[in-house]
Each structure stands twice: as structure tokens, then as C-alpha cells.
């Protein structure tokens, strides 16, 4: 359906069926933030470099500033808002909290999703593997010290089921 040049886009976000309008040129990140009100995903560079807008589309890590909303039609999308279970933080979130893995918090959503994708495929990554996996997510605050420690701690938590 096209209304004033905008199409209805139907997606599943964090397990919930959602729909909204998007022009063909509307970026996925703008659709998520402005049309669906999910402002946890951030815009850092609009050039696909900084990783702040990282979400998962059908399980794949995606720069939502480099994808059009209409390309996500009928896709399943995961954003940072879907990670915690009510009051309980996801173990990855908990690990970032315990290891001082964030300061201003702007890059954090992208880092959390990238970490989730990494630990699903490799539950026990080495530090070098962690650094490689996170190399597309820029953090300007932490110098990555707390971030790398958080991913290591998250891996432990998930392996041990704590």
C-alpha cells in the first residue's frame, strides 16, 4: 500500500508485530526510531562506519543506517529494547554494567547486539577474536578496556548459565 509516496512496512520487532509507513528512501534506523518509536538504536555517522545503529535483521548484524526500511518488509528485527526480560537485564547487559563497559551510553546498544551475535556463534572467544568482532563498533569513551572485559565476562556468564 502506498500513501503519499510512503509504503506500509510490516516487521516483527523484538517478537512483536509492528507496522508503519516509510518512503522508499527512509532508512531502517529512521523507521525504527521515528515511526516505531524505538529510540534505543542510535545514529552516529550515517555512513556505516561507527556501528551505533547496529541491529539484527533475521539474526544478521545490520547497519540500520545503510538499509532502507522497505528492505526489511516482513523481516524479524532485534533491537536493544528486546534484550532485557522485564526488570532482569540480559547477562550481556549485566556484564557491561559490572565491567564498566559503558560511559556515555551512546554506542552501547550497538555493542550489546554485536556481542550477542558473537557469543551465539562463539561462546568462548579469545581476546583477539573479541576485538575483531567489535572492530566495527566505535566507542569514544572507554578506550575499549571495559568493553572487552565485559564481553569476556558475558561469555562466562552465558556459558555458566548465570
Amino acid at each position: 500500500m502506498i500513501v503519499d509516496g510512503a509504503a506500509a512496512v510490516r516487521v516483527t520487532v523484538n517478537g512483536e508485530a509492528r507496522q508503519g509507513l516509510a518512503e522508499p528512501r527512509t532508512l531502517l534506523v529512521d523507521f525504527l526510531r521515528q515511526e516505531l518509536g524505538l529510540t534505543g538504536t542510535h545514529v552516529g555517522c550515517e555512513q556505516g562506519v561507527c556501528g551505533a545503529c547496529t541491529v539484527r535483521v533475521n539474526g544478521q548484524l545490520v547497519r540500520s543506517c545503510l538499509m532502507f526500511a522497505v528492505q526489511a518488509e516482513r523481516a524479524s528485527i532485534e533491537t536493544v529494547e528486546g534484550m532485557a526480560r522485564g526488570a532482569e537485564l540480559h547477562p550481556i547487559q549485566q556484564a557491561f554494567h559490572e565491567e564498566h563497559g559503558l560511559q556515555c551510553g551512546f554506542c552501547t546498544p550497538g555493542l550489546l547486539l554485536t556481542t550477542a551475535a558473537l557469543l551465539e556463534t562463539d561462546p568462548d572467544p579469545s581476546e583477539a577474536e573479541i576485538r575483531l568482532a567489535l572492530s566495527g563498533n566505535v566507542c569514544r569513551c572507554t578506550g575499549y578496556v571495559g568493553v572487552v572485559a565485559a564481553v569476556q565476562a558475558a561469555a562466562r556468564k552465558l556459558r555458566e548459565g548465570t
Binding site: 537485564l89 554494567h97 560511559q103 551512546f106 569514544r140 578506550g143
Partner: protein
């Protein structure tokens, strides 16, 4: 204060590694940044910007842009002809104040300068409209080199000025000429520090709303200085009363100094909101951020050092020509780079005579302003690289040379008047050497060289001016005072609310300041709320920057809390008919010393203050029951110190620098929360590494900007920053409340010199000297070739 042990909490919160309170919202993705704010009827602004470094605006045609569907307003400089300019100046005779029009009508002076603005129903439409704006330009001669700008006959970038320098400042202390004349050796060096960007991950952003009822504004802005923004903008916007202007800095995604300035957009966006009668949002895009916010740290420095033959420093001379860019940045001025670099010329070295000259030269580039470490970074790099060269020339170990000249650990006044408040100036250097295993490292370097591999080690001991207030400002050449207050209030249920005019954008004030007030009042840290960033809600203050917040916020909270605590004590003493001196408050309970059965909760004390009575007690007669106090704190000068060491291996075929190890020894006095301190150190150090090796805001000779995206301006990633090893020494300040010094900038001040010295050390067999940053691979190769060609 009572020292009672309560299970599940540290005896004292200050110094404890409490986890951050603010994480909860950021981890869930429910932080509130400016771009997360949506108001009914909100328009979106986009700016049309100059593609020229220097040009006259012959004409602007905005008719097509205005006609585009969805466009509500298009404004140019002509529409804002009556709007006052920013006037950047300082009350000192050497300074010539500089005007910047928020939308220039007739002339642009750098690529990216805004000349028109569009308000439309979406950002997409607003940008479409910008593409329809048609400007006829007449290009003018371009200046991109600060020395060329100062040369006689250079075209003047600002009408009515006699030179292209914002200020020429000279300083001399001690017998400089005599020292140089009588010295055994004189060493000199020119160093051109690279042009950097603070590059917070969240760009700047504004949402402005005008209330036609009151005539006032509310502005949400990604700023480190909400109150200062209000004070500086309210009257420019034509308001009679400053308090008609409410500025809210909500969650801010990093600032690093960039967000302490006033920019044209800060004035134009609220103006547009009033003009259109609708709220307006503008979010800076990454190109705008890189091209047209502030740049930093580009200074061309000529240093000279007079020594005895055994390396005793006798005198420094320095000439600092800062590249100010097209305008003097408002309100701080470009002297935040070149002047402060010069004032810290002697650093932690015992040298009796210093002379410096400073300029801030206009060029056709983005204005330069504050970025974490300001000009101290550039000055540190130039001085420490020179000292390593002196060591090589004298055939001394560079650390031996430094330690011979390092000031003692007691308070000391430098030749430029800096009043160091005691620190581990030599001890931190020795500690860094010890952690690194310095002697073994030199052995390894030797054996690797025999294999044709080039390992290098570099050190950078530093002092970090902290707690920037009036005394520090004046020391650094800025004749101002500051007013930063904390308001501490005990609520009716005994919980504690603290408001401050500082702003946290990563520094964890909600955690660390709660630690301070909880200790001081004797309550549970969980019962404390810290509020900042809203001029309608909080005590006044000049914001968070310059490693000032722990010192100033901590001190003002302590002073305000002490006043409130006196009232809590008075109520408890009255209830128990005890002497106030015998009342102890800890973990939310007041007790009488020696009578453990006499105990009353802070909740009941507060209830008594607000409502007059609790079971068995009443308010003391004559007590003003307001459990609130507002106090400010302007600390004396204080300086953290430390030493950063770096180990690199350089591939002499490719010019690639591999950073293998970074050690930071930091001494910031009493730490409020070591985990937060370490976060500050690591982040600052990473930014310093970026400046040394990767980050470069390049322009070509025509003033065209070459670093407008994050593929050209290279933030370091996880792959470039190694594990950063942090060690603490805790020398309490002898002069500040609580012994707190500042933290947050040392890494950015000192890491570049450590890395550059390590590279120079690695390449010393080639006789390489390094005279600029960043050390990109091609530049490293050019240094090697230059040395080989000699």
C-alpha cells in the same frame, strides 16, 4: 563521622568501586538523548553550507527551496541581519575581539560554514530543499597555514583588524637570555601538532520550542554547559529575562570539550522555532560535525631548551602559533590551545627561567576550540619529544635526564607561576619504568635490532591542571571567575536530592556525587538522587569540562551537605537531649555516642523538620526547618600528575606502527570511585593514541576539507587500542576539599608524546626526528627517508 560497619556496603562510599547508577537506562536503550525527543508539530532543520574555504557571497536564491512541498521556512544571513553576532574576546590588552555572524550575509571563511537554514516537515525534505539553494560565489584568496597568516602582506580575514592574530601574548620569568647565553648546550625544535576532532559519538543536536504565551524558550541541547548556554543566548534571542530561557541538556553522548562552545546553530534553531511558531529539531550530521563544529590542538611550536653539559635544564623558550581557524571560537577563544600550551611549558621540570610568545592565527579552516586536554596535549608532545632528542644528543637515558630535572614531590611553584599542590612527580615515572620492566625492555630492543626489527619505548610524564575555576583560569591566562553550586536537600522521607550546574555525559556523576553526599550526610547511597542538566531545576554552574567536576562538584556538595547535616544533628540532639557534638549519623541513622539505644532514623529526623513532630520528639525551637543548602566551591589551583609509557614496533618497510603496550601511572589525589577514574583514564588515553597515530583533520592547499567522514577521520577501534594498563598513586591534594584533584584529561595530554617518543626511539638507528603528528605510515616512511637522505 561514625565509622560503623554495616554489611553489604563499604564503610565509606568515597573510594569504593560502586557500579554506575546511570547504566540501567543506557543498557536498556531507554536513555533520553536530544534526538530521542519528539514534540507535536515539530519541524526539522537542515543547514546549507559553504563549499568554499573563502568566498564572497554575490547572491543567494532560495525561491526554489521555499517552493518545495513540506518546506516551512528558509532563512539566510539577510533575514538575520539584525541578529547580534557572537563576540569572542578576553579582558586582556593583547586580545582583539572577534565577531562571528550566525549566518554570514556576504562572506564565508571556511568550508562548512552555514549560510542558510531550512525548516521542513522532515529532515529528508529539509535536505532536499538545501540542494535547491543556488548561491553565486566569488572565491577569495585562501590561507591554510598559521605562519603564512601572520606573514606581512597576508590578506586579512577579518575587516578592521591589523593582523590575522586574535592575540599576541608574551611572557618572561627569570633570566632567560643569560641562561641561554651561558648554557653549555642549546637545543631547538619545531613541532607541528596535528589537527584533531573531539568526535563524540553523538553529534551535536538541538530541539527548540518557543512559548508565545510567556515569550520564552525551552531548548534541549547536547551540551556540556546548559547554564552557560542560557546565559549567553537568552539576550541574543531578544529575551529581557534570562530565566525565560530554559535549557535542558539531557543524556549527552560524549562531549570531550567540543560541546562547551556556542555555535551558530544554537542561536539559529531557537530563532527558527519562534519564526515558524513550531518546535524545531536539528541533529548535526557527521559531515557537519567534522567540518563545522570545532577542531583542536593544531599548533606550530618552536621550542628551545638551554642545558648544562650534564643535562640540567636552565631555561625554556617557546613560540606557539596556534591555528585558530576562521573565527575565534565563542566564548572560550582559540587561546585554549596556544596560550595554555605555553603556560605549561615547564611542566614538572625544575627550570628557573621561561620565556614564551603566543599567537592564535586566523586561517580559512574550521574554528579551533577546546578538546580534552586542550593545548596542553600539543605542548606536552612538543616538549617531551624535544627532551628525548636532548637525551639522545647528550647520550643520556631519556628517563635519567627527566628524573634529574623533575621537581620534588612537595608543593612547588613553576616558572610560569603554576602552583603545584604536591604529587608523585618522580615516583610516577619510576613506577612506569618498573611496570614496564624498563631495563629488560632495553635488552630486548637491542636483540631485536640485531634481527632488523625496530622496537621503541617512549615516556611522557605529565601534570594535569584540574578543577578549572577562577584561580586556574587566571593562571592559564583567562581572567574570569566561575560560579558552580550544589544544592543538597533532604526530602520529607529522608531521601536526598542534589542538584548541580555541572553535567555528566559519561563521567557517572549520578554515582560518584551520590557517594560524596552519602558519606557526608551519613545516609545510604541508594537514597540519593543527583540531578543535573536543566536550568529550570538545578543550581547554577558552568558545566563539566577541564577535569573540574570531581573537585568542584565534590567540594560544593561537601560544603552544602555539612550545612544540612548540622540541622539533622540539631534535631537529633534535641530529641535525645544530647549535645550536638555527640550525635553521629551513619547509614541513615543518628545515634548518640556511647548510647547505642538512642537511635533515630534520618527519615524521622526529616519528618520532624518538615512536619514538626515524631513520636517522642519535636523540632528544636528556633530551627529553620528547611533541610536544604546551596553552596559553591571555587578551588585553588590543583594538578594531577602521572606518567604514560608506550612500547611500539615499527615496520620500516611499510611505516606501520604497532602499539604493543601502554602503561598509565596516574595520581589524581583522592579518588571518588576508582572504576570511574580508570574509565576516564582509559578513554582519554585512547583518544591520545588516536591523535598520535590516526586522527587528522586534513585540508588541501585550497582549504578544501578532506576528512568529512569516519573513513577519512580515523577513530581508533578495538584493533588499534591495546590493553591499557593502569596503576594508581594517590597523593591527596594539599589544597582542595577532600584532597581531590581532577581526572579525565591526562591520557589525552600525555599519550601522544609517549607514542611519538616510542616511534622516534624505535627509529633512532636511522637518526629519525619527528616533527609532526599524526604518524601515518606514509609519514613514518617520509621521516625515515628524510633521515637517510641527510
Amino acid at each position: 563521622m561514625a565509622q560503623t560497619s554495616v554489611e553489604g556496603r563499604p564503610d565509606r562510599y568515597v573510594g569504593a568501586r560502586l557500579p554506575r547508577v546511570e547504566d540501567a537506562r543506557f543498557l536498556r536503550g531507554v536513555g533520553k538523548f536530544v534526538d530521542d525527543i519528539r514534540l507535536p508539530g515539530m519541524l526539522h532543520a537542515a543547514f546549507f553550507r559553504s563549499p568554499h574555504a573563502h568566498a564572497r557571497i554575490v547572491s543567494i536564491d532560495v525561491e526554489q527551496a521555499r517552493a518545495l512541498e513540506g518546506v516551512v521556512a528558509v532563512l539566510t544571513g539577510a533575514d538575520l541581519a539584525d541578529f547580534p553576532p557572537f563576540v569572542a574576546g578576553l579582558p586582556r590588552p593583547e586580545v582583539k575581539a572577534n565577531e562571528r555572524h550566525v549566518l554570514p550575509a556576504d562572506r564565508v571563511r571556511f568550508v562548512g560554514e552555514a549560510v542558510a537554514v531550512v525548516a521542513a516537515t522532515s529532515r529528508y525534505v529539509a535536505e532536499d530543499a538545501c540542494a535547491l539553494i543556488d548561491v553565486e560565489w566569488e572565491p577569495l584568496p585562501v590561507l591554510t597555514d598559521p605562519h603564512a597568516s601572520l606573514a606581512p602582506g597576508a590578506p586579512l580575514l577579518h575587516e578592521g583588524s591589523e593582523s590575522n592574530s586574535f592575540a599576541h601574548i608574551e611572557f618572561e620569568h627569570g633570566e632567560v637570555e643569560k641562561a641561554f647565553a651561558e648554557a653549555d648546550r642549546v637545543f631547538s625544535k619545531r613541532f607541528h601538532h596535528g589537527r584533531m576532532h573531539a568526535a563524540p559519538l553523538e553529534t551535536r543536536g538541538i530541539v527548540a520550542e518557543h512559548d508565545p504565551g510567556s515569550g520564552g524558550f525551552t531548548m534541549w541541547t547536547s551540551s556540556q554547559v546548559p547554564h552557560l548556554t542560557r546565559s549567553l543566548l537568552a539576550h541574543m534571542l531578544g529575551l529581557t529575562y534570562e530565566n525565560q530561557f530554559r535549557v535542558i541538556a539531557p543524556d549527552v553522548g560524549g562531549g570531550f570539550g567540543l560541546k562547551i562552545h556556542l555555535f551558530p546553530e544554537d542561536a539559529v534553531v531557537p530563532y527558527l522555532a519562534r519564526h515558524t511558531g513550531r518546535p524545531v529539531k536539528w541533529i548535526e550530521d557527521r559531515y557537519e560535525s567534522l567540518a563545522a563544529s570545532t577542531h583542536a590542538k593544531e599548533i606550530v611550536m618552536d621550542l628551545e631548551l638551554a642545558t648544562t653539559s650534564d643535562g640540567k635544564f636552565l631555561a625554556f623558550r617557546g613560540r606557539y602559533v596556534g591555528d585558530a581557524g576562521a573565527y575565534a571560537i565563542y566564548p572560550w577563544t582559540p587561546l585554549v590551545d596556544s596560550l595554555v600550551a605555553a603556560v605549561l611549558l615547564p611542566s614538572l621540570y625544575d627550570v628557573p627561567a621561561v620565556r614564551f610568545e603566543v599567537d592564535a592565527a586566523y586561517t580559512n579552516k574550521c574554528p579551533t576550540g577546546a578538546y580534552r586536554g586542550v593545548g596542553w596535549t600539543s605542548g606536552q608532545t612538543a616538549r617531551e619529544v624535544l627532551i628525548d632528542e636532548v637525551a639522545r644528543a647528550l647520550e643520556l637515558d631519556p628517563m635519567e635526564l627527566r628524573l634529574r630535572n623533575t621537581i620534588p614531590s612537595e608543593p612547588y611553584v613553576s616558572a610560569t607561576g603554576c602552583r603545584y599542590d604536591g604529587g608523585s612527580y618522580a615516583e610516577s615515572q619510576r613506577k612506569a619504568m618498573e611496570v614496564l620492566g624498563y631495563d629488560a625492555l632495553r635488552e630486548r630492543q637491542k636483540s631485536l635490532r640485531e634481527e632488523g626489527r625496530y622496537l621503541g619505548v617512549g615516556f611522557s610524564p605529565f601534570v594535569e591542571p584540574g578543577g578549572w575555576s577562577g584561580e586556574m583560569a587566571k593562571r592559564m591566562g583567562f581572567p574570569f571567575d566561575y560560579m558552580d553550586a550544589a544544592r543538597v536537600t533532604v526530602e520529607p522521607d529522608g531521601t536526598v536530592t542534589v542538584t548541580l550546574g555541572l553535567h555528566s555525559h559519561g563521567q557517572a556523576h549520578e554515582t560518584t556525587f551520590a557517594q560524596v553526599v552519602a558519606d557526608r550526610l551519613g545516609v545510604k547511597v541508594e537514597s540519593v538522587r543527583i540531578l543535573e542538566g536543566d536550568t529550570a531545576v538545578t543550581a547554577y554552574g558552568t558545566g563539566t569540562w577541564g577535569s573540574r567536576s570531581a573537585v568542584i562538584g565534590g567540594g560544593s556538595i561537601m560544603r552544602a551537605a555539612d550545612e544540612v547535616r548540622e540541622k539533622l544533628v540539631a534535631i537529633a540532639a534535641h530529641a535525645f537531649e544530647a549535645s550536638p557534638g555527640d550525635i553521629e549519623i551513619y547509614d541513615g541513622n543518628a545515634t548518640v555516642k556511647g548510647s547505642p539505644d538512642k537511635s533515630i532514623s534520618v527519615t524521622m529526623i526529616a519528618y520532624t523538620a518538615y512536619f514538626g513532630a515524631f513520636v517522642g520528639g519535636t523540632r528544636p525551637p528556633g530551627l529553620d526547618p528547611a533541610l536544604t543548602a546551596t553552596r559553591s566551591y571555587e578551588p585553588p589551583e590543583s594538578y594531577a600528575n602521572g606518567c604514560i609509557a608506550a612500547v611500539v614496533e615499527v615496520d620500516v618497510e611499510t611505516g606501520q606502527v604497532e602499539l604493543q603496550q601502554v602503561v598509565v601511572v596516574d595520581d589524581c589525589g583522592i579518588m571518588l570511585n576508582p572504576t570511574v577514574v580508570e574509565g576516564q583514564i582509559a578513554g582519554a588515553t585512547a583518544q591520545g593514541i588516536g591523535g598520535a597515530l590516526y586522527e587528522d583533520l586534513a585540508y588541501d592547499a585550497n582549504g578544501q576539507f578532506l576528512a568529512g567522514n569516519l573513513l577519512d577521520y580515523l577513530y581508533p577501534t578495538t584493533m588499534e587500542i591495546p590493553a591499557i594498563e593502569i596503576h594508581h598513586i594517590e597523593t591527596p591534594s594539599t589544597v582542595t576539599e577532600g584532597g581531590i584533584k581532577g581526572v579525565g584529561e591526562g591520557g589525552t595530554i600525555a599519550a601522544p608524546a609517549a607514542v611519538v617518543n616510542a616511534v622516534a626511539d624505535a627509529l633512532s638507528p636511522f637518526g629519525v626526528t619527528i616533527d609532526r603528528t599524526p604518524l601515518s605510515p606514509d609519514r613514518v616512511l617520509s621521516f625515515i627517508r628524510a633521515a637517510e637522505g641527510r
